[in-house]
Subunit: 435 residues, 2 copies
Amino acid sequence: MKNEKSIAQLEVELSELKHKYMAKDISPLAPKNGFPKLPIIKGIRLASVAANIKYADRDDVMLMECAAGSSIAGVFTRSSTRSASVLDCQNKLVNRSDKTAAAIIVNSGNSNAFTGSHGEVSVQNICASISNEMNIPLNSIFSASTGVIGEKLPHEKIINKIEELNSKLSEHSLESAARAIMTTDTFPKGAYSSFSINGSNVNISGFAKGSGMIAPDMATMLVYIMTDVSIKRNILQNILTKLNEKTFNCITVDSDTSTSDSLMVIATGQSKTETIVDEFSDEALKFTEELNSVMLSLAKQVVRDGEGATKFLEVEVRGAVSDISAKTVALAIANSPLIKTAVAGEDPNWGRVVMGVGKSGEPADRDKISIWFGNILVAEQGWVASSYREDLGQNYMKNQELKIIVDLAIGDGSATVWTCDLTHQYIAINADYRS
Amino acid sequence: MKNEKSIAQLEVELSELKHKYMAKDISPLAPKNGFPKLPIIKGIRLASVAANIKYADRDDVMLMECAAGSSIAGVFTRSSTRSASVLDCQNKLVNRSDKTAAAIIVNSGNSNAFTGSHGEVSVQNICASISNEMNIPLNSIFSASTGVIGEKLPHEKIINKIEELNSKLSEHSLESAARAIMTTDTFPKGAYSSFSINGSNVNISGFAKGSGMIAPDMATMLVYIMTDVSIKRNILQNILTKLNEKTFNCITVDSDTSTSDSLMVIATGQSKTETIVDEFSDEALKFTEELNSVMLSLAKQVVRDGEGATKFLEVEVRGAVSDISAKTVALAIANSPLIKTAVAGEDPNWGRVVMGVGKSGEPADRDKISIWFGNILVAEQGWVASSYREDLGQNYMKNQELKIIVDLAIGDGSATVWTCDLTHQYIAINADYRS
């Protein structure tokens, strides 16, 4: 009897330890309702297949067809070691004609980054093969690869599947495409908006992948957003670039920047709206607002799937000398391992937040800083607030969604960024198993 | 019998899990021979006592007396939220006269940082009390505090011990002083050099504390280096500032910058050497070389005691467009959580090193980069080296002391920095227990 009890106790202890330290199957921060039902975008068809590049028993390549007349805009990683696909997309985007159809091919499991001349050869062969199969000019074929760095991409595996992909294209395959581009993601990320412009219905559907190596500029992600709005390409690019600064460039998981980040927006123009030609027209502003909500939702979902994340943290900095200064301070806080581990440990350690402000290198007056955890004023006038009690902070930190607000009180600059905590599971994912 | 075996198995499994995930009592990278026997420095006397500021049953305050005639130089954190002690030391260093004696008081357990006006009051009261007790002018009394941020320093506990400290001052108390300033350190850090200048014996003895919140500029550390050399204060300051850039400003544990970092060098002038008045004289260069070796040893010991460290990593970057650019690249690699977890996991993941180069924002040509792990050429010409085999990398990564070399091959700039891995124990120290 004594032994039996000991075994039970030991097993409980083991199970608790494993739960605490080991990687979870799905992020506890994943949206409760699962992948949203994305509206079909007229002019967009997708397909996915299993090409067995690295993962077995799952789709790992997706193909998107964009109808002739689509405006396409994009933003990409600024890494000096960016991949062949990224360089190729950047070249083509500025040169292609909107009059022709376009296609986007994406594989997961291999990033085709730092693969020397092999990288360019793979991109050229895949794009040429699609151009041939789909009868689309080569300079309108875009590609992306995500996964392990430095291994030669077995591009023939992708090329062998192009005919099948082309034959399976469907307006309805948004979710399977979103799943095909996942790597260490624990859930697929989707967001949409349906609204009207001058009485005509407009839809935006987007999906994203990303989990580790997430930091501006940009997060390690691939994002594809499709809309049936009609808009001039340069206007779309301007809007995208601007929104990107306050969405995807405001998230960080681990401060590491990827070699493959790509975000593309395709506007097929197949809604009944007039073509947007002025960035500041009412129609453009409405579209911008809705696109922003889709981008922000996707960006936050990437953070929610941050490797090992158990807490979602919003960091708002106000009263800085400029918006840029505020963003630098906010990112210094959001990237601090000491703050991220304090969040993981539910420790209201506002001293580490002070440290984060100090290390940012931005102007700050120690005795003017105020700090809130949610609605709780924690520190002001260079010290702990007289109204603050440690149990208030401790209770607040038990929440899954947290907000830290810092008011520097020396200017009008502000910024908000999003991140997650740093946990044993992050270490388990990145150190315990070989990638 | 079956049950007994199960219990044994379970206990082994539990023990292994705990060993893997929980904080160690002493860093596995600690020097094998323990704290060195530091030479006495004529003109320096020290004492330590237990003032019970935070820790029970250990000394937590140390007092150092520096004889009249000592030149004192210092470098400090550049954090905009630096502590009252740091601000006070910075003011006094430029104004004091070398003709009088000086004293340095340091406590552990409370950093007296972000304590508003209380911080200044504590520093003033402590310094005034020492000035009175030791009959030393107030502007030659320096202080430092290390430990938790944002809690009011119970300075009366320190003041109550000043008489006792003064009565216990001894040339022989170097090690106990080094121990009194420890916080999360798992071992005290000491280094020395004994050499001769023009036939006269010269000694340098130094000690340091620091473990977490370690990043340039500077590491979260307190460092005190004493020497009997005779040297003009401004020359000492110039040498110190220069050496600091290549020693303590080249180490990082977690990229976080402290509010309390202080490094002071005291030259008592009680050796028989002539006073050094020229920074580039043979005597000055010899002293500089020996001071550099002491500083480098202490800086590396701080990394060796990095929170949760199990591997010591040197990162050398060559062929950059400038030394500063090389240092930025080296720190981007050394601060990358993905690289630090790969090191922890003994994963020869050179793709993450490529990512680190890319994210640094510094000039690099993807196809010119070469990467070595120790003597093993891993990548060249934009891809894996033809001679590289994965098992070579895997075997190399099993070492406790590792070196990553990156040659950008576009210039003559170079830099070397030191860091440690990012492990479950780091998370355990910073998230699992309340600080």
